[in-house]
């Protein structure tokens, strides 16, 4: 049984079907690449999984149980952690506050009187960012003062700094440097090895070949194919993403959508 199953999910924005009857399964200990052209519906799909959007139809099964996510809180409580492509950080807070937003560490001074445990949070933040090879002026600086890649790293650190069993990453390495990208790919492998289900959205097929076990390809809101990474080549994938069609010569491993 899959850890997370989506069944016939549809989501409309006005006249536009952003998701059109999408069914897909995610398993523990597996990295699944979610691929597709710009506007294919990848972000919309993961927003449905993370409780940010509510789908118009379809259902979500978590370890076989039907669940309904009315808000991001519900998804977080169910152990689904998400790194969003947009709107992940608060510009006016510092790096530490952003990293721990929604799950601040506190220390109790007297019964009923407790403070933020800033020292512990700063320490942990430095560790996390060091693991990602990020070079920040200071963990005390406001997020609005960071470079594009630094912001992205903070968002990644935020997502991995939590207990969860499913982690979703929407184009995590898009703004990252060479070293940082390597670290994130390594991290993804670690997460998988710890038995988590990882959903990884990217446009970088090298990265897909590198860390993903399975690929799901979307186009115009539909799932158009699914394959084990080991069985397909980069060019095959690229072709499928672009044309939306499976080449006559495609191997059997590249399944047409059910």
């Amino acid at each position: 049984m899959s850890l997370l199953s989506l069944r016939h999910i549809s989501k409309q924005f006005g006249a536009l079907f952003a998701l059109d009857d999408v069914s897909v399964d995610f398993n523990a200990g597996e990295v699944v690449a979610l691929l597709g052209d710009n506007g294919a519906g990848k972000s919309t799909l993961i927003k449905v999984i993370s409780g940010t959007y509510v789908a118009e139809s379809g259902e979500i099964l978590l370890a076989g149980e039907k669940v309904a996510f009315a808000s991001p809180r519900d998804a977080l409580d169910a152990g689904i952690q998400t790194l969003f492509q947009d709107l992940a950080l608060c510009d006016n807070l510092d790096v530490v506050a952003n990293l721990f937003l929604g799950r601040e560490l506190r220390r109790s001074v007297l019964p009923g009187l407790s403070f933020f445990d800033t020292a512990r949070m700063r320490r942990r933040a430095s560790e996390l960012l060091r693991d990602l090879a990020v070079d920040l002026p200071s963990v005390d600086c406001k997020v609005r003062d960071l470079s594009g890649g630094q912001r992205q790293s903070v968002a990644i650190a935020r997502a991995v700094n939590a207990d969860c069993r499913i982690i979703i990453m929407d184009e995590p390495t898009a703004a990252l440097g060479v070293a940082q990208t390597r670290k994130v790919l390594g991290l993804v492998r670690q997460l998988r090895d710890r038995g988590m289900a990882v959903i990884y959205i990217t446009h970088n097929l090298h990265d897909v070949m590198d860390v993903c076990d399975r690929c799901v390809v979307m186009k115009n809101g539909r799932k158009i194919g699914e394959a084990s990474t080991a069985a397909v080549g980069k060019d095959e994938l690229a072709n499928m993403i672009i044309t939306g069609e499976i080449k006559p010569s495609a191997p059997a491993s590249l399944q047409v959508r059910v």
């Binding site: 006016n92 807070l93 933020f116």
Partner: protein
């Protein structure tokens, strides 16, 4: 190499950041000091501790309202009903003790509860009704005003017990009691702003409500609680004002809302949300009280006073803007104004 650098920078940044942060917070106080010095330069006899106490006293009601207002503004909202809700709380307190004979301490609690209830309605409308804060609280302004007038028939109400006078007019170790109240509320509010998740989320929400929601925070409940917290300061302000004038007036609060917002903004809050502080709000209230007191002291005629208050307000905030811009050039502190 990269990590070494990172930690080197982190350290130098880590050392200086708290200092500049403090400076950022102290900014509005500097503005206040400048104004006090300017007035003293014009009239040296101004700078007496008695006068400073009087200014503190006169600023107290506005300071209380401005603290609550700042929390709302920080979160990206606005609260136009603080003034008339204060009137209503006063009238309800007077009613409960004068008409129904409820003991005064209980009546005071009822006043605070009424402030909180008003805040809860506003918060509910904004959070769950998705009504723009400006409209929801403007509507409440009218509702509270009308209710206060209806309850009292438009007349002032008198007859509080003698000891009640102490709250607004008494002194403790030479300092007017309302100043102690403001100080207490300020400490609690500062704790809320800087050490409670609620305060932090309010700031975060001011920058990006969706990010906060995605972090798993129930933003609607958060908004509700923010307006309710603001209501607490409204209730406290009602008690202080009622005691200070030893009566309850149904129409007295109108106009306080703009004063409270102005104090907030002078103190560095941005109406776009995400910026503001308790110390700033208090400094802002003191700045306004100082200007008005000084002009009254100079005996300036009311028409001219309005002009001068306007000019000084603009000038003071302009100076502050210039100062911040200069600091910014040298430090990491960012522009505070939109």
């Amino acid at each position: 190499m990269s990590n070494a650098l990172s930690s080197k920078w982190a350290e130098s940044g880590g050392l200086s950041a708290p200092f500049w942060r403090l400076f950022d917070r102290v900014g509005p106080l500097l503005l206040l000091a400048t104004i006090i010095l300017a007035v003293t330069a014009i009239r040296p006899s101004f700078l007496t501790s008695a006068n400073l106490m009087t200014i503190g006293l006169q600023a107290s009601v506005n300071a209380l309202l401005a603290i609550g207002q700042t929390l709302v503004i920080v979160s990206g909202g606005i609260e136009l009903s603080v003034g008339t809700m204060m009137s209503l709380s006063m009238v309800v307190m007077a009613f409960s003790t004068l008409t129904f004979g409820v003991p005064m301490p209980l009546s005071m609690m009822i006043a605070v509860l009424f402030g909180v209830a008003g805040g809860a309605i506003n918060g509910f409308l904004v959070a769950y009704g998705r009504i723009p804060a400006f409209i929801a609280t403007l509507g409440m302004l009218g509702i509270a005003q009308g209710t206060a007038l209806k309850l009292s028939g438009g007349y002032a109400m008198y007859g509080f017990p003698d000891w009640f006078d102490f709250i607004g007019n008494g002194e403790l170790v030479g300092i007017p009691f309302p100043i102690w109240i403001v100080a207490t509320v300020a400490v609690l509010a500062h704790y809320l702003f800087t050490q409670r998740p609620m305060g932090r989320y309010a700031f975060a929400m001011g920058a990006s409500e969706e990010s906060v929601r995605r972090a798993g925070v129930d933003v609607r409940r958060l908004k509700l609680r923010i307006y309710m917290a603001c209501g607490v300061t409204v209730g406290c302000a009602a008690i202080v004002l009622a005691s200070r004038i030893d009566s309850a007036h149904p129409g007295i609060g109108l106009g306080y809302e703009l004063d409270a917002i102005a104090a907030s903004v002078i103190g560095g809050a941005s109406l776009m949300g995400g910026r503001g502080s308790v110390l700033g709000a208090i400094s802002g209230a003191l700045v306004m009280a100082t200007i008005r007191f000084a002009l009254n002291l100079f005996g300036m005629e009311p028409f001219l006073q309005q002009i001068v208050v306007g000019v000084v307000l603009i000038g003071a905030v302009y100076l502050d803007t210039v100062r911040v811009a200069q600091e910014e050039r040298r430090t990491k502190v960012r522009a505070r104004h939109h």
